[in-house]
């Protein structure tokens, strides 16, 4: 240090210029770095801060309807056709914000979202039962395009087919061009479309036969499966309701297939169901348990949470918005806890059905109960789950297989429902 001090006069000048050069250099590098970082920043910020969303819009072209899901994240999806529904499952590692877009279509009756653990399901209800669909996944922005084409109504099936293939293969620019080109005919008078839309004012009752497909449910000691009993009972109940009431009845499944639990609720909500009845047969270890019990949803919430939920439901819920929205808007409901709004009516319906089941010969009354059933949480109408008897009890298993007992159970459930409808319709 002291030797440095001694050498000042000799080295002073050159050291000074050197120093300035270094300072200049450092300042310039910092500026360059700053500019570089500033340019990087927007992408980094948007990538990490922008909330993931799914935006849905529905529009018509001359001979087909198009559903577009746009997102700021890559979309991994699968599509399944089920009757008049297209079910689009989109994987989601994190929650997405659901955004509404425009909705105007002669081909598509309604669309709705259901949320699962790590996925969302878009339920597209198509106006006609004979239709084909084509889909494609595009990027910049990430979007999933699904075209719905009526099969019978298309006067030029080849053109329709081409449209479908176009959506699936044409690169995004061309798709865009075709979109604007075809946007004009939208206002033209639509070609004759075989719609199956409901007679206005007809209310729908949903019957949900528990389990199905690989989900066999409980199993009796003699091999009877819950899924078979529930389907058979549900078909009988449907027939009785249709014979006696001016209501439309929709089954969540009418054959031995897997139907995810959220989809059962989604079907009810898409139908704007009036009532929902899930049919099950009970099971317990051993062979002694017997009798019938009727459930409605337990929210699995503390009193405080239930109060908050009730407040939300009664004020500015998604449900209210949907009812109040203009027709243009997408009927979109986050059905996660929709049933919270209907617990009182659901408990009344449960009481009425249970008291009818109690009149059945040799049926033990296990009463009305509450449990957090997955299938009921998302249903946006009064909803119950009926456990008609114990399949694990060999006596009841035998009874459950007979036509007479099934008919009596179906009749009892119907009577309870009819009583509830008389009460509920009056309110």
């Amino acid at each position: 240090m002291s030797s440095d001090a001694g050498s000042i006069p000799a080295a002073s000048k050159s050291s000074h210029t050197n120093e300035r050069n270094v300072v200049k250099y450092i300042v310039r590098s910092l500026m360059v770095l700053f500019v570089l970082l500033c340019q990087l920043a927007p992408t980094a910020a948007s990538r990490f801060q922008e909330e993931p969303f799914l935006k849905l819009s529905v529009e018509d072209f001359a001979d087909y309807g198009r559903v577009t899901v746009t997102s700021n994240h890559p979309l991994r999806s699968s599509i399944e056709k089920n009757g008049i529904y297209l079910l689009v499952r989109i994987r989601a590692d994190q929650p997405f914000r659901i955004r509404r877009g425009s909705f105007r279509s002669r081909f598509i009756e309604s669309v709705g979202w259901t949320q699962g653990v790590d996925f969302y399901v878009l339920n597209i209800k198509v106006q006609m039962s004979d239709f084909t669909h084509a889909s494609t996944n595009l990027t910049r922005p990430h979007r999933l395009v699904i075209d719905v084409l009526p099969e019978g109504a298309d006067p030029r099936p080849k053109a329709g087919q081409e449209a479908a293939e176009g959506a699936a293969t044409i690169p995004k620019k061309e798709t865009g061009a075709r979109t604007t080109e075809r946007a004009a005919p939208r206002t033209e008078t639509p070609a004759a479309i075989p719609t199956q839309s409901l007679a206005q004012g007809t209310r729908t009752i949903i019957i949900d036969p528990g389990h199905g497909g690989l989900e066999v449910g409980a199993e009796g000691q003699n091999g009877t499966l819950e899924k078979d009993i529930t389907l058979s009972l549900s078909l009988k109940l449907k027939a009785i309701i249709e014979r006696n009431l001016a209501y439309r009845v929709v089954l969540t499944r009418d054959r031995d297939v897997d139907v995810p639990l959220e989809r059962r609720a989604a079907i009810a909500n898409n139908e704007q169901a009036f009532l929902f009845v899930s049919i099950h047969a009970n099971g317990f270890p051993g062979s002694k348990a017997r009798g019938a019990e009727t459930y409605f949803l337990n929210l699995n919430a503390t009193d405080e949470e239930a109060r908050r939920l009730a407040y939300m439901e009664n004020n500015s819920t998604e449900l209210d918005q949907v009812q109040g929205d203009a027709e243009d808007d997408i009927k979109m409901i986050l059905w996660d806890m929709a049933q919270a709004n209907f617990l009182k009516q659901s408990s009344e319906m449960a009481e009425l059905i249970q008291s009818e089941l109690n009149t059945l010969r040799d049926t033990r009354n296990r009463g009305v109960k509450q449990a957090p059933f997955k299938v009921l949480t998302g249903v946006a109408c009064p909803a119950v789950l009926v456990e008609v008897a114990f399949i694990s009890n060999p006596d009841e298993e035998r009874k459950l297989l007979t036509d007479d007992f099934q008919a009596a159970v179906a009749q009892a459930i119907y009577t309870g429902l009819a009583k509830f409808i008389r009460q509920y319709a009056r309110d």
Binding site: S15, V23, L40, A218, G283
Partner: protein
């Protein structure tokens, strides 16, 4: 001399650089993944002392009333609740010592368990919990709430229980009770 005068500038520029990088990249950092955060028990025992035990209550089933029946058991105390809670579930898995109906199907193992700070216990079972389960609403309700009640009844810091199978969240055990949200206890299912 050069170095002496330049050094502070160098240090300053490095600092600025670090700050700039932190400013732009810092926001990108994701919150830490959910990790086991054992909640310390209020009874802080000295681990050098001989192991002490405490009495807990397990819940088993009865095919007479299909309710949950209490049965007492001794477990070793530990300053961490999660270690006591694990013993409780392992005892529940082992079954009743008085001939009551098992609440956990045979072959099931407790894989892992952790408690997060807001009082939710995550209990991860092997897939036998689902595969060997007889199913049916009554059976499913009994199994699920035997687990939930055993944990919430004995450990004050556990308020809710989430049941996982094979490390994953499942929608239901066999099509009935919703397992996607942590469950609150159901004292009404306990036999009087």
């Amino acid at each position: 001399m050069d170095i002496k005068r330049i050094l502070p500038l160098g240090v300053l520029s490095v600092l600025l650089l670090v700050l700039a990088v932190l400013f732009f990249v810092g926001g990108a950092e994701k919150p830490p993944a959910l990790a086991p955060v054992p909640v310390p028990d209020d009874a802080g025992e000295d681990s050098a002392e001989p192991p002490q035990t405490r009495t807990i209550t397990l819940f088993f089933l009865s095919d007479e009333d299909n309710l949950l029946h209490p049965e007492e058991r001794e477990i070793y105390t530990h300053e961490l609740t999660v270690f006591e809670a694990k013993q409780a579930i392992e005892e529940l898995v082992r079954g009743s010592s008085s001939g009551a109906v098992a609440s956990i199907p045979p072959g099931t193992r407790l894989r892992e368990m952790y408690i997060i700070q807001d009082g939710v216990a995550y209990v991860d079972f092997s897939r036998e919990l689902k595969d060997n389960h007889g199913s049916g609403t009554a059976a499913e309700t009994a199994t699920v709430f035997a687990i939930v009640n055993t944990l919430t009844y004995n450990f004050e810091s556990i308020k809710r229980v989430s049941i996982l199978i094979g490390g994953n969240e499942r929608e239901t055990l066999n099509g009935h009770i919703d397992l996607t949200r942590p469950l609150l206890p159901r004292l009404d299912l306990i036999a009087k």
